[in-house]
Symmetry: C2
Subunit: 150 residues, 2 copies
DNA sequence: TAGCATCTACGACGTCACGTAGTCGACGCA
DNA sequence: TGCGTCGACTACGTGACGTCGTAGATGCTA
């Protein structure tokens, strides 16, 4: 069973994900060669290095892969936004109520006006969307990247 | 030069911080012995283990220490809230504008009603506080835990 | 058909962060 | 003077990552 997608990504892992997220990668998924050409060559990496990383990432559930002839086609398992959201929840998840409020205040306090605007906009958008959508009693957090039982 | 305070804390490191944050630790800072008694004993750890961890944390800037006779007194360098806030910014920091909005939306979407309420409250509190406080042209983010040049 | 290219599968090695702990020497108190 | 307490150092095991090399299978081509 795939391990918990660690929040902490390595540099190369992150670069690979960046590539997969970019429009540069084919929608159907990129092959090792393509990823290597894109992020491996400029770093002077061997083809196998990229392959190994991709393989490990697949095992960790960070990317998914599908056969395409002899080769695999890799796709990011989660969008950058999902991963970020996950990180945010993770960071906040360890705090109890009071502390959470306090942490949020800190966070907002250190945010740029742009960030605050974005946050307000997102909040407004969420509220607008939920109108007419009778909120289900309590929606547990999405679990697409949730860790398995123990 | 102290390294960047990694976001990723080890289990023991986190436990130690938790203790230092708790009222259980003396305000003046806890000695190795005190930390050991509090979090080391229950884990069956050796005194030196806790000492080593504390020492490393001090070198990483996660805790500060002051001499108290022959011993050191350790204090958390940042509050839990500051650390969390830092994590949040870190997570969000890698995204460009559009993606950030999207990530925030994801985040909010997966938040519990309680969390949303807390966020709104914090936002309101911030706005209330800034009234009358002519916002400085642009306040760069707080840098108490900022990495040094390089 | 013999080569050569292209892929994946596996195994390896180095480094770094952490958890864990032992040893040693300095120091203070009975 | 001897015991107990502390910090400084050193060390070892493990796991995550970056980085490759080699071995096979497969496919294209002269």
């Amino acid at each position: 069973m795939s391990r918990i997608p660690r929040n902490r990504l390595g540099d190369l892992e992150r670069a690979v994900l960046e590539h997969l997220w970019t429009g540069a990668a084919p929608p159907a998924g990129a092959t090792v060669r393509q990823v290597h050409d894109a992020v491996g060559l400029e770093r002077g990496l061997a083809y196998t290095t990229v392959m190994t990383v991709l393989d490990r990432m697949a095992k960790k559930g960070l990317v998914t892969r599908e056969r395409d002839g002899r080769a695999w086609r890799y796709t990011a398992a989660a969008s950058r936004e999902e991963l970020t959201s996950e990180s945010l929840h993770h960071a906040l998840g360890e705090l109890a109520g009071t502390e959470r409020r306090s942490a949020l205040l800190h966070f907002l306090d250190e945010s740029t006006p742009e960030e605050l605007d974005e946050l307000r906009a997102a909040l407004a958008q969420l509220e607008a969307r939920s109108i007419g959508t009778q909120p289900p009693a309590r929606r547990p957090r999405a679990g697409h990247l949730r860790r398995g039982p123990t």
